[in-house]
Symmetry: C2
Subunit: 780 residues, 2 copies
Amino acid sequence: MSNSSCDAHPWRVDESSFSWDGPGIAESVFALANGYVGVRGTLDEAQPSLSPGTFMAGVYECHPLSYPEESYGYPEHGQAIIGVADGTAIRLQVNGVPLDIRETPPEYHERTLDLRSGTLRRETQWVTPAGQRMRLVSTRLVSLTQRSVTAIRYEIEAVDYAVHAVIRSDLVVNGTALRVDNADPRVAHALEQPFRSWFGRCHETGGLLVHSTRGSLIGVAAAVDHDVHIPEGGHISTHGDDDQVITTVVADLRPGEKVGFTKYLCHVRSSDDDPADLEAQVLAALDGARERGWEGLTADQQSFLDRFWDGADVEVGGDAELQLAIRFNLFQVLQASACLSRAPIGAKALTGSGYSGHTFWDIEGFVAPTLTLLYPEGAAHLLRWRASTLETARERAEVLGVKGASFAWRTINGHEASAYWPASSAAVHLNATIALAFNFYALATGTTLTAINGFDVLIETARMWASTVHQDDDGLFHLFGVTGPDEYTGVVDDNVFTNLMAQRNLKAAAAACEAYPQHAERFDVSPLEIGTWRGMADSVYVPYDASLGIHPANERFTTYREWDFATDPGAYPVQEHAHYVKIYRRQVIKQADLVLALWWCFDAFTATQTARNFSYYEQRTVRDSSLSATAQSVVAARVGHLDLALSYLRETAFIDLRDVEGNSHQGVHLAACSGSWLALVSGLGGLRADDEQLHLAPRLPDKLHRIAFRLRWRGQRIGVDTTRSGTTVRLLDEGGQKVPIWIDGTLRVLTATHPVTSPLIVPHPTTEPPRQPPGREPRD
Amino acid sequence: MSNSSCDAHPWRVDESSFSWDGPGIAESVFALANGYVGVRGTLDEAQPSLSPGTFMAGVYECHPLSYPEESYGYPEHGQAIIGVADGTAIRLQVNGVPLDIRETPPEYHERTLDLRSGTLRRETQWVTPAGQRMRLVSTRLVSLTQRSVTAIRYEIEAVDYAVHAVIRSDLVVNGTALRVDNADPRVAHALEQPFRSWFGRCHETGGLLVHSTRGSLIGVAAAVDHDVHIPEGGHISTHGDDDQVITTVVADLRPGEKVGFTKYLCHVRSSDDDPADLEAQVLAALDGARERGWEGLTADQQSFLDRFWDGADVEVGGDAELQLAIRFNLFQVLQASACLSRAPIGAKALTGSGYSGHTFWDIEGFVAPTLTLLYPEGAAHLLRWRASTLETARERAEVLGVKGASFAWRTINGHEASAYWPASSAAVHLNATIALAFNFYALATGTTLTAINGFDVLIETARMWASTVHQDDDGLFHLFGVTGPDEYTGVVDDNVFTNLMAQRNLKAAAAACEAYPQHAERFDVSPLEIGTWRGMADSVYVPYDASLGIHPANERFTTYREWDFATDPGAYPVQEHAHYVKIYRRQVIKQADLVLALWWCFDAFTATQTARNFSYYEQRTVRDSSLSATAQSVVAARVGHLDLALSYLRETAFIDLRDVEGNSHQGVHLAACSGSWLALVSGLGGLRADDEQLHLAPRLPDKLHRIAFRLRWRGQRIGVDTTRSGTTVRLLDEGGQKVPIWIDGTLRVLTATHPVTSPLIVPHPTTEPPRQPPGREPRD
């Protein structure tokens, strides 16, 4: 475990606290977003930079996917998120010399992301080559309450000498090209200049640009205005064309004098509306922003975040860095979803273009539960988007030769964009994760599935499973030729995780149809079909290796050759040093698979099996995926290895702040961010909610003296506070309903007036602390 | 079964006997080659044409292979055979009107491939728009004795009126671009104009071109000369540049007068020599051709083929078409190999650019045995080429994480060029097929493995198997995550064919090392290593489904869901109508897999098992590969279903003459061509040679009254002649050694003076004639 710096501010991420390698990580960590629009955390003056840009959820371009060997049902088109018109650049010249911190190391330079105010503040003081001391303060926000609005407060001061300052503030389309790694030149061609400009307009203090993607035909309008304060003699002017709006502020500053402005940026998108509509919408958004003004926008931001933290905050006693990291991670989850609408949440949300902006099953698996318990509105938006792709998923099911619906492994528009079927179309488990995210939302919020269009998602995924499973001579139902979450073990038979998740999907669909027979009838679900689902679910085959006393991740897994960590390539990730033909049938695990089943399908395993399974897989799991540590942390906690649980929790929590995977410059790892909260509350807190009631089993590792968290359960806020003295659970809303809650297996009833307390249990694990593969100890 | 046209000439393929769809099939069927150079059977006047061209074995260009999702060990470069300088075009104008049979339907038009003279003769008579009757006779050969030489005898006659004739005879490089289906534009870029010209020269009657590929740096020189006979007043002239040599013959013909020439074309290739060397080599070849002259070349051709047929001919009494087809197919096998040197035999040999000119394991599996028994020199060339790729195969083994060597699934230069690993790198069985082809050559010719550089091939493949197999708790050796010959069942565990072939590979390597201990020592093979190979071979796991009494093609195959031929897409090939994710775990078989094991590893199965297995797989095999029917024919014969055996034999035999697969325009299916002979002698003839002795078990279907074939066994020619009266086996060479031979299980001894006779056995099959999937009855 790294030394915790005890002076970590509990709510602020300061750049100076970290030593990031290159500007890319700061661009991701300091990205601001609201689920509708996101801006990378590039410096105002645009340099140094790795990949600046502004993204909008659901704004992507298509490109050809070509295969050296084609086959039936391979997707023909990829999708990639693209940078929209970017207005973050504000370039400064002082007496003809541009501000560039690489050329002129500043006397003082700090950037701070404030998780309570929802702003990124930057302060830089430097001395120009001619000796004039200057100070720049800028504050940036992407509004969590007005989805189109980004605002930047920018101000410079001539500290000790008179200077001539020129500030150039941009809004530019097609100016932030993605790095396209694809060797097919047609991909770069499609993505390099993705927008066709409709028109641009400008006036003295700003202007607007309206454009549309060439292939996917998505219209985008961006508008900018500046509310300036200029000393006498200075002036502002704007020029531009269809691709850019450039506003220039010129001022002579006397010592101590300042010049600056509030820059309002607005973005709207639509696939339906014509350019004139887009123009009207973006101007309306701009009017709204100016009307609130900088003070109003920051007040709204603060107030929105106050409400969020009031129901979501986490306190970690004894580890200030971890405390900050989890808050940062929850901020990312909120940023990804606050104003989400009719678009997916990408694996990197709107903080970068990693994974081409695609969403994966991990969003439903690792982000939706957190949102459901902390910000249900965000979960609802996310799930409604997925439900909106149901028709596409039905078409895909037909291509794959199954009934019902089969959702895309990676996508922005709902269509499958994965080019490698053994790790996508074969990873059929994703459908269960998606379906059960809907189910959990309804359960935890106390609303109905139909509110999030989830009823038919459950039915159609159940139909997919029913047409995929195969009843063997043993009378049990099998799933052959699938790939589980562990992508180092592909195209296998009877993956335990997949089989158990299919079982739960079938049961949930049956239960929903039984609870709402009129809906079931509308979807032509007969009692016979429901009975079939239940029968299949009850007879799902779960392989077990009796000689080892553990569950093979899939049939025969425990008979595979062991990975020879001593002489086989020891470098990680394994997939970059060994061929699939070798990896697929070795006992080397990329990411929690059976261990994920121990968490998500915990009731399929006895406590002894859970402990033995965890030990077995721990020695074989290399965590080459950032998704892994969360599950390992949760299960480590549940089997009583609290130090290990904390280590994995820290690894997950610092995934981006410490660039654990070395690729945070592509955007934050949203699922792992969310996973750090799940590791805390589901692992150390022991939270479960599977049988429609809340369960807790709080544990405290030696290094922590307190864990407190909050969550929303069926409309009420609940606070859980664990110290060495025990756990107190409170209803945080006055006049609330009573809530039954299980603590360490005992049913208690929580009311607004009566908190519940319970002593802290110190676990006595039945297994030794497990070892990891060499070089894959927790990176905490 | 189609009606046999009883008037099929026994040695001639006449175009008029077939109704091919478009000019492409004739271009393949009438292609002439010698294993070094090959020319497509395009008409002299170059039109109508689908894809004309001249190919040379081993002359290819590289191109990028790019993947939408890259992974470790994926090949980065593809290879594709490319057309070299083409000299087949001889265009004719009569009184200013070009000969084009599409414009002016001829009075008479016939092309004939003569399998005894090894020539393609063409005769056309037509009346020009102005009413002059003309006759054109041309004869083409690619010399089977002088590898560089193609010769064309071309002559026209003005039958009834005086005409002015202009004949333009070309040699052109970069003139026959391939159709490039790859969507990646860089592939087309690499292949469209593959040659860079070094220089060209010409003189009055011909010239030469020297050039080299841009990427693979293979030098090619082509030279042309014309030996003309021109009526008085006519003349010949040649002009050209670095890319072409154009010879023009002009003559005024009186009625009954002729003009024509012999065109000598020579090609040489080298990766090492400089342009001046290439020029000298090609001119020497041209001198050699002119020195022999047309009469000499045709006499050599005839004499070479007389010798070949004398040791290889097949007679089929009662089916004249089948008789012709098998001779045509043997001619293809000979054409592919006669002058082969330091290059592979592609799946289409030199008759077309299908499969990019790549060689596959089926060449060793289905062509090498035929060559070994009929034209061992060709087999030796083929195997020596494969042995020359051993170092590359060692490098590939390292990438795949195994020891020893792993040969390429598809290649021209030895490097893996397959872009889809589940059907290539996972199809590890190919290594056993290759190794055992070396073993069979040594066995059948009575020479040593070292003569074909096969010793280390056996050792290195055995080492690959030894490092790939995995000993399980049952003490048996398993192979996990492989793909067998059946590409509709991918990435499976314990494929029976693969396991049995690995076993044989290990045993053969052990036996070779024991027989030649000094070689073994040179390759550091210790007695311990040999013992390990034998131990592994003895303990290979072979799955068996006791309840069904059959062998699952791989572990659990018989528990997969059945393919629903009624409601699942009924269209073939299945892979164009269903996704791999569905196909891979269904009981639908693309091509003989377990059934191939019944043939190649027959001693692993009892007679009852063979019969039951065949019936089971017959109902599930859709023959979406042209390789399948051969194995099905052989096994059908062995289990006594002789009518079915004949039906599959005919399907295989007519694969190209009747364009059974609809893709013969891309070149002939060489493995299936060779397979038709194997189906005849190994199936109906019951030929086996596995325990170092010859075995026969001749059978006659009702529709045939005689089968006679010849083969070479340890340097001696043997003739087998089966009629209803029984079988006679003769040594065809005087003064030969005595040969032990088993006929229907009885050991006999054959000497030059004493033929062996045996009565014909009529089988009584223990199973009903099996049924095929709907729509996949034999296409005979």
